[in-house]
Assembly symmetry: C2
Homo-oligomer: 214 residues x 2
């Protein structure tokens, strides 16, 4: 499958590399057509990996991953272009984090979320919030952890969520995927990131995740 | 030990009853000296249970539990009185929830928290945020769940947190207590309650909790 990955940071690189390893063709998109990190990544990953602008990657992908920083995601998606994302599944892995102080805070929360903002701005794109509640190494390889843990999906379109559940299970190896409901449930998973950050300091490693026990 | 429990709702009743069963003397405090729910609770629990105003209960307790609704906690604690809580451990189990719409939201979040507000307003009280991330039945009996799960403590005073850890482990049966850090880490655990609410709808029961897996 052709997949667009927006963002050249560690999340985009990790997800992009996993997808290439699975046999997919991946274009990494960034603000500039020739981002040095994207060029290096594509060279390292071989012939199935390519790079371009956000618009190039969005147009290329049958499915699109938003792996940009949450604070700039809306701007990046505007550059990607509504027409290039029309009717497509957009997997939004971002968190609307303000990293400017030691105490992380969110740029949108509580009565709204980045997931909802993206869905409102791009009503013809099938936005599914997922994978934003753990480190990227766990996102694509949950078996690194000692036990089964949980990943969440939030979105308005049932078929789009089914596609994402398939990707999470069959491609990334998740054994437990919890459908939280519509895109408004992005609020809870985005707001979880502050507890995640506290736990990251306690665990002294980003390699952890939560498991729901009943 | 003499313990003050502020709040006559299900959380206050559940914690109060557990403490009485453990052999402690518990006074349940409320806005009115003769709250019908507090009277019924004390009658049902027998001679070690009593009731009174918030101020009566705070004065009575060597340790105090705040089990009032988060939206009215500051007002309840003002009625309890700074002098009656001076130098004492206050275990804050509340969440600053606005229940007025189906989509829960918080009255304070992101860059502040109820735990911090309480600590700022009562600087001579040793505030420890804890137990606000699960249903009250789990709070006092975590072995109801099929596996070991986690409970958190947040607070500025190390000895006060050690007291709360003892209560959680030896009295309530928690096997894993995670010290998240100072009282600012209340933000994360309070903001988690939106994800908790989404999970409660998915699980179709409030009897669940999270476990950190690394």
């Amino acid at each position: 499958m052709n997949i667009g990955v927006l963002g050249t940071g560690i999340v985009g690189q990790t997800i992009g590399s996993k997808l290439v390893q699975l046999g997919h063709h991946v274009m990494m998109g960034s603000r500039d057509a020739a981002n040095p990190k994207a060029i290096r990544w594509a060279k390292a990953e071989g012939p199935r990996a390519s790079f371009g602008t956000f618009a190039n990657a969005a147009s290329f992908g049958e499915i699109i991953f938003n792996c940009t920083l949450g604070s700039v995601s809306l701007d990046a998606l505007r550059q990607a272009g509504a027409a290039n994302m029309k009717g497509k599944v957009l997997i939004d892995t971002s968190n609307p984090l303000d990293y400017s102080t030691d105490a992380w805070s969110l740029t949108v929360s509580n009565t709204d979320s980045l997931g909802e903002q993206i869905q409102r701005e791009f009503p013809n794109t099938l936005v599914v919030k997922s994978l934003n509640t753990m480190n990227c190494n766990i996102m694509v390889d949950p078996r690194k952890l000692s036990e089964k843990t949980d990943v969440f999906v939030s979105g308005n379109d049932v078929e789009a969520k089914a596609t994402v559940v398939m990707i999470l299970r069959d491609w990334f190896g998740w054994r437990s995927v919890i459908d939280l409901g519509d895109i408004t449930t992005s609020r809870g998973v985005e707001m979880f990131v502050l507890l995640w950050h506290n736990l990251r300091n306690v665990v002294s490693s980003p390699r952890f995740n939560i498991r729901i026990v009943s």
